[in-house]
C-alpha cells in the first residue's frame, strides 16, 4: 500500500510547516557550537596569572593550521596558555560532553528521568579502582600519568560487565533488572570504598578530593588518552538517536517499528559506559552534570533525541568548562572540588528552568 494512492479524506488541509521548530533546534546547535568556542577561549584567558584576552586569542589562533599569525608571546606566557590552561579547558569540555551525553543516553535507554551516568555502577566501580590505586604502593608513571586512572577505568568497566552479566535473562536484558543489579552492586562497592577511606590514614585527603572530582592535574597526555574513547562513543550514540526516540514508546512497539531493541540496548549501553569510564577515570566522579544537563536541554528544546543528544554534548562541555573556571578562580589559589561547583551553580539554574516550565510535560 502506498498512501499516495489513497483517496484523500474530505477534510483535506494542506500540511502546516513543521520545519520552523526543527530549524530552531538546528540554529541552536550552531549557536551552542559558537558559544563553546567562545567559552574555550575565555576560560583559557582567565586564570591566576593575568594574560590579556587578545593575547590569548592570538596565541590560540596561531596554533591552528592555515592561520599565519605569530603569537609574539614570551615563552612563559605561551607555556601557561598552551601547556597548563588549554589542556585543562579541553579535558573539562570533553568530560562534560561525555557525562551529559551518557546521562541523556541512559535516561532514554531506561526511560527513566532519574537515570544518570552513574546509575549502573560506573562511578562506584571507578571509585573502588581509584581508591585501590591510592592505597597500593605502586609508583608507575608509564604514560605520563599514574596507576590511578587505569585502575579507575578498569574498575568502571568491570563493574558494569558484572552488572550486565547478572542482569541478563536469556537473550534479553530487562532494563529493571539492569538498574537493580547496578544499584545493588554500586552499594557494595560504595561500602568497600567507605571502609578503605576510613582506614587510609594520610591518603584520605587525596582520595576524597579525587571522589569529588578535579581538573587540577590535567595534561595533554590525558587529553590524548581520553579523546579517542569519547569521540568514538559520542559518534556511536549519536548514530542511534532515532532508535532511541522510538524506544521511548516501549520495547514491544519499538520492535514492531523495526528496531532491533536488544542490539541497540547493548550498543548504547557499551558506548555510554565507555565514555563515562573514560571521563571519570582521570578527573574523578563529578556529579550532577549527567542528570542536570540533559534535563535542562529537554526543558528548553524538547525530547527529540536527535537534537537532545548533540545539544547535550555541547551544553555539557560548556557547563563543565565554566564550572571548572569557577572552581579554580573563585577562591584562588585554593581549588574548590568541581563536584561542589556543579551542584551549587547547576541546581539553582535547573530549578529555575523547572519552575518556569512547570506546566509542561517534558520527559
Amino acid at each position: 500500500m502506498t498512501l499516495n494512492q489513497l483517496k484523500p479524506s474530505s477534510m483535506v488541509q494542506s500540511m502546516p510547516i513543521h520545519f520552523p521548530r526543527w530549524r530552531r533546534r538546528i540554529y541552536s546547535i550552531i549557536g551552542l557550537l559558537i558559544a563553546l568556542i567562545g567559552v574555550v577561549a575565555v576560560a583559557t584567558a582567565i586564570g591566576s596569572v593575568h594574560i590579556p584576552f587578545l593575547t590569548t586569542f592570538r596565541s590560540l589562533l596561531s596554533q591552528l593550521p592555515l592561520v599565519d599569525i605569530t603569537s609574539g608571546l614570551s615563552s612563559t606566557t605561551e607555556t601557561i596558555i598552551m601547556e597548563i590552561r588549554l589542556p585543562r579547558v579541553i579535558l573539562a569540555g570533553l568530560v562534560g560532553a561525555a557525562l551529559a551525553l551518557a546521562g541523556a543516553a541512559y535516561q532514554g535507554l531506561f526511560r527513566n528521568p532519574l537515570a544518570d551516568p552513574y546509575l549502573i555502577g560506573v562511578a562506584q566501580g571507578a571509585s573502588l579502582g581509584a581508591v585501590v590505586g591510592f592505597i597500593l604502593p605502586i609508583n608507575w608513571h608509564g604514560m605520563g600519568f599514574g596507576i590511578i586512572p587505569i585502575l579507575a577505568f578498569a574498575g568502571a568497566i568491570i563493574s558494569v560487565a558484572i552488572v550486565y552479566s547478572l542482569a541478563r535473562v536469556g537473550k534479553t536484558l530487562p532494563v529493571t533488572t539492569l538498574i537493580l543489579a547496578g544499584v545493588a552492586l554500586g552499594a557494595l562497592w560504595g561500602s568497600i570504598v567507605s571502609y578503605l577511606i576510613i582506614t587510609s590514614g594520610e591518603k584520605m585527603h587525596g582520595i576524597l578530593f579525587w571522589l569529588m572530582g578535579s581538573f587540577a592535574l590535567s595534561q595533554w597526555s590525558e587529553v590524548k588518552v581520553v579523546l579517542p574513547y569519547i569521540v568514538v562513543g559520542v559518534a556511536v550514540i549519536l548514530i542511534y538517536s532515532r532508535s532511541l526516540n522510538i524506544m521511548q514508546l516501549n520495547e514491544e512497539q519499538a520492535q514492531q517499528l523495526g528496531v532491533n531493541v536488544e542490539k541497540v540496548k547493548l550498543i548504547l549501553l557499551a558506548a555510554a559506559t565507555l565514555i563515562t569510564a573514560a571521563a571519570v577515570s582521570f578527573v574523578g566522579t563529578i556529579g550532577f552534570v549527567g542528570i542536570l544537563v540533559p534535563h535542562a536541554v529537554r526543558l528548553v528544546w524538547g525530547p527529540d533525541y536527535r537534537f537532545l543528544l548533540p545539544l547535550s554534548v555541547l551544553s555539557g562541555a560548556i557547563f563543565l568548562i565554566l564550572a571548572d573556571l569557577v572552581a579554580r578562580t573563585a577562591l584562588a589559589p585554593t581549588e574548590i572540588p568541581i563536584g561542589v561547583i556543579t551542584a551549587v551553580c547547576g541546581a539553582p539554574f535547573f530549578l529555575y528552568l523547572l519552575r518556569r516550565k512547570k506546566r509542561v510535560v517534558f520527559f
Binding site: 500500500m1 502506498t2 498512501l3 499516495n4 494512492q5 489513497l6 483517496k7 484523500p8 479524506s9 477534510m11 483535506v12 488541509q13 500540511m15 502546516p16 513543521h18 526511560r111 548514530i239 542511534y240 532515532r242 532508535s243 526516540n245 522510538i246 521511548q248 514508546l249 516501549n250 514491544e252 512497539q253 520492535q255 514492531q256 517499528l257 523495526g258 528496531v259 532491533n260 529537554r298 524538547g302 525530547p303 527529540d304 536527535r306 509542561v360 510535560v361 517534558f362 520527559f363
Partner: protein, 275 residues
Amino acid sequence: MIKLELQSVDIAYGHNMVVKDLNFEVMPGEMVGLIGPNGSGKSTIIKAISRVITLCSGKIMLDGKDVFKMPRGDLARSLGVVPQMSILPSAFTAFEVVLMGRNPHLGLLQYEGERDFTITWRAMEMTATHSLAQRKVGELSGGEIQRIVIARVLTQEPKSILLDEPTANLDIRHQVDILDLIKNLCLENNLMVVIALHDLNLAAQYCDRLILINNGQVHAQGTPEEVITSQNMKEVYGADSCVYAHPVNGLPAVLVKAGNSHHAKPRSMIQGGIV
C-alpha cells in the same frame, strides 16, 4: 499478494503452554477477528506474529517468508501493529509520534525528507488526527491516542495490520469510529487485517471471518454466523448466552443475562439482604 499462514504454532511462557498447535490463514483484503475469553491466547498470537515473542515450534509465514527469519526492518515494512495499551512518551508531539512510523523505511543515518512528511500528514488526515499534530501526546485522550497509533501504523505503509483490542477503554462512539476506519482501510487498500476483540457484537459486525480461540487452540472458525452460536458460546465462555440476529443487518448479536454464570447465587438470596 500478502498472505499470513500459521502452521502448527506452539507458544509457551516458561513451562506454561499458552498456544497449542494453532493453524490458520488470512488472505489479503480480509478482516479477521480473533475472539475468545481472557487468557485464551489472542494477544500472545498477535505478539508472535509481530515477532515480539518466540515460538516453541511451528512456523509463521508472511507472504511465503518465515517471519522469524526476516530482518526486523523488512517485517515492519509489511506488518504494522496497534497494541492493546499504547504507552506513548508524553513529551513528544503527535506529529513526531506518527513520524516514527517511517523508521523502517529510513537508513541508520538518514533523516526524514519531504516524502516522509507528506505520508505522515496523509495518515494523520485519514485518521482525523491532523488537528492534533502539534499537541503533546501526554495531553490527548484515549481515543485520540488510539487514532494516533493507527496513523503511525499507516505511516509504515504496511500490507497487513494487526490490532490487539484497539477499542478497549473506548466509548461506543469511538469504538465504532476506529473500527469503521480500519474496515475502510482494509477494503480500499486490500489490506490484511487481524484484529483481536473482546466484544463479540463488534467482532460480528465488522469482521469477514472470525476465529474463536479457546485454551490456545482454534475452537471454531468461519463467518460470524457460523462462529457465534449459542453452542459455541456455552462451550467456550461457559455461560448461557442468548444469540439473536441483529435487527438491522441480521448478523449475530450476543445478549447476556445476569446471574447465569457458575458464580451466580439464586436471585432470591441476593434480594434476601446479604449485603
